[in-house]
Symmetry: C2
């Protein structure tokens, strides 16, 4: 037991008991006085004044032990240190704060098995719900969440043992359609998509959007996720049937642009490029502003917060399958030229002979 000082208040925190004693009522009455939205009896008013004067701060841990809800939500990231992760967290945090929830945040930092551990740890914290951002691992603890009826939602993407979670993820459908419309208006009819190994979203999606927009699509697999831009451009140039536009994640797009410069391939005259700001890339600098499909995950955070709050407070059902939220925007930079003029460039004609 802690020491009491001369006023009879324990040295650390003021408790409800202290407030009740000072106000001359029972703890039950004190509890109710503080809980009710507006004071009813005169006792209520007095209790509140005493609480304020003593600097009473309710103990959430004690409250939640009794009420079986902690007003706490866990967010586990596979990687936290990226702009996309931050923007998501920011939006999520704002949406949940508003309703009195506090966020536990943890990051696996790419360490094997760490994600699973953190999910388990948040179970011990008795979070009211859990968000898993790009989850991967065994997902063994998910059974316990299900058993305790604690909702778990995957964000962005999911893998391995987390595959069966409901997902709220980003889609760039709208922006992709804008981009395709723009390409068509410039006379392009075919695009090439550089797909790094293991990267399905959003690069994978762009292929389908392009096809749906009536474009011919050629997919180039980037082995091990590592692009050799000069090598790629050489064989690209040698290909008579090459598409006039290349779509690549931002990182690769930048390197293509640099390599093109070295090879005297002029963008956007000889080659048009669209970058996709995907989930892990910082913004590198280029001489020519990139035309870009910009992935902005804030919408995902907003939607995730709203969905969860509706479920937790309103009792609405959680989405059972995957839900895709519009999170793209089309930014015209300067790397898209005319599709008609791209083919007959002299530089490229030389290549055609060789191919």
């Amino acid at each position: 037991m802690r020491n009491r000082n001369e006023t009879g208040i324990r040295s650390g925190h003021v408790t409800l008991q202290d407030v009740a004693d000072t106000a001359g009522v029972s703890v039950s009455t004190a509890s109710r006085a503080l809980a009710s939205v507006r004071a009813r009896g005169k006792n209520d008013e007095r209790v509140r004044k005493v609480a304020a004067k003593l600097g009473y701060v309710p103990n959430e841990a004690a409250r939640s032990l009794r009420s079986e809800r902690t007003m706490t939500i866990g967010v586990v990231f596979a990687q936290l240190n990226s702009p996309l992760a931050t923007e998501l967290l920011d939006a999520l945090s704002a949406g949940l704060d508003e309703h009195g929830y506090s966020l536990f945040v943890a990051t696996a930092r790419g360490v094997e098995g760490r994600f699973d551990q953190l999910v388990q740890r948040f179970l011990e914290r008795r979070v009211d719900a859990l968000f898993c951002v790009n989850p991967a691992g065994k997902g063994a603890a998910l059974r316990k969440y299900a058993k305790a009826k604690i909702p778990v939602i995957a964000l962005f993407s999911k893998a391995d043992g987390y595959e069966r979670l409901p997902l709220i993820g980003p889609t760039i459908a709208h922006a992709a359609n804008e981009a395709m419309a723009h390409l068509r208006s410039r006379g392009h009819v075919a695009v090439g998509v550089l797909r790094p190994a293991g990267m399905s979203r959003p690069i994978e999606g762009i292929r389908d959007f392009a096809r749906a927009a009536g474009m011919k699509v050629r997919v180039y697999d980037v082995a091990d996720g590592l692009l050799d831009p000069a090598g790629f451009l050489r064989s690209y140039r040698a290909d008579a049937a090459r598409p006039t536009v290349l779509i690549a994640r931002q990182n690769d797009a930048v390197r293509l642009l640099e390599a093109a410069d070295q090879l005297s391939i002029k963008a956007p005259r000889d080659l048009s490029i669209i970058a996709i700001r995907d989930r892990t890339q910082q913004m590198p600098s280029t001489r020519l502003p990139l035309s870009m499909i910009h992935l902005n995950p804030a919408n995902v955070g907003v939607e995730a917060a709203r969905t969860l709050v509706h479920h937790l407070i309103g009792g609405s059902a959680l989405p059972s399958g995957d839900r895709l939220v519009d999170a793209g925007s089309w930014v015209e930079g300067g790397t898209i030229g005319s599709g008609d003029s791209a083919a007959p460039q002299p530089t490229l004609k030389v290549a055609r002979r060789r191919g």
Copy 2:
């Protein structure tokens, strides 16, 4: 009371009582069996097996209610949505996770009075310690933290009612010295520092580092934090006694570079520029890679985590004053020319006459 299913286990979580009952011991024994590092008696072994089989997950809230420590740490950000904030959080999170602490994260998002509110809220969560990142506001709740002996540490910077907190912040001393050495080796003897209103760190610091390195320093105040780059460059050019190098936060440096281009001032021939990656800027693109003092806040996070853990576990005293952690690196881009040749440029001579 919740329903019990056929095995006698409550439907939600398995409790210690459940484990004890199944193992045929008292809760006290069960508690001790699970708490001790290695099993001693044979009872201990059995309890552990039962706990594992039932999927027992200890309730941290209940534990902390008894033990008066929550193994929880609060982090309140003035702004979370910036690369610097993320890098800090990432490092902080890693350093504290390791010791079993979970992080509550919240952000004020620049809303008036919000920071104070969040600090108060974490008091209700009974965090074992609190980090305030760039705190500003009344800081009224700090008295309660002090009374409850909960350590509070400011990170990066502090203001207003948070002024008296101990601070762990970044210093770019090392990088600044490297930069100055480089400037001197290129023949520069004077630098100009563009100081936005209200921005003290790290721009303010650079002035002192430059002076300490024997440079002549000229400070330009940027009114309202908004730079008119073309206007600035015109009067700069007209000044016969102008320094040959300008140091500005990254954002301003980029705009200076663009404006210089318009005015036919060639960098680095006519003007050398150093950018400082300060706390709020994203990385914009420029044609010429910026020479830069890069602020990397991860070290601050690592140091903050270490300091706090030493205090919480080791019992060491918290730093009473401010502690500055080396967090800069010098990156030579391409915007520094020769100091000797900069002065006699024809373009600038014309300006000199007018000045």
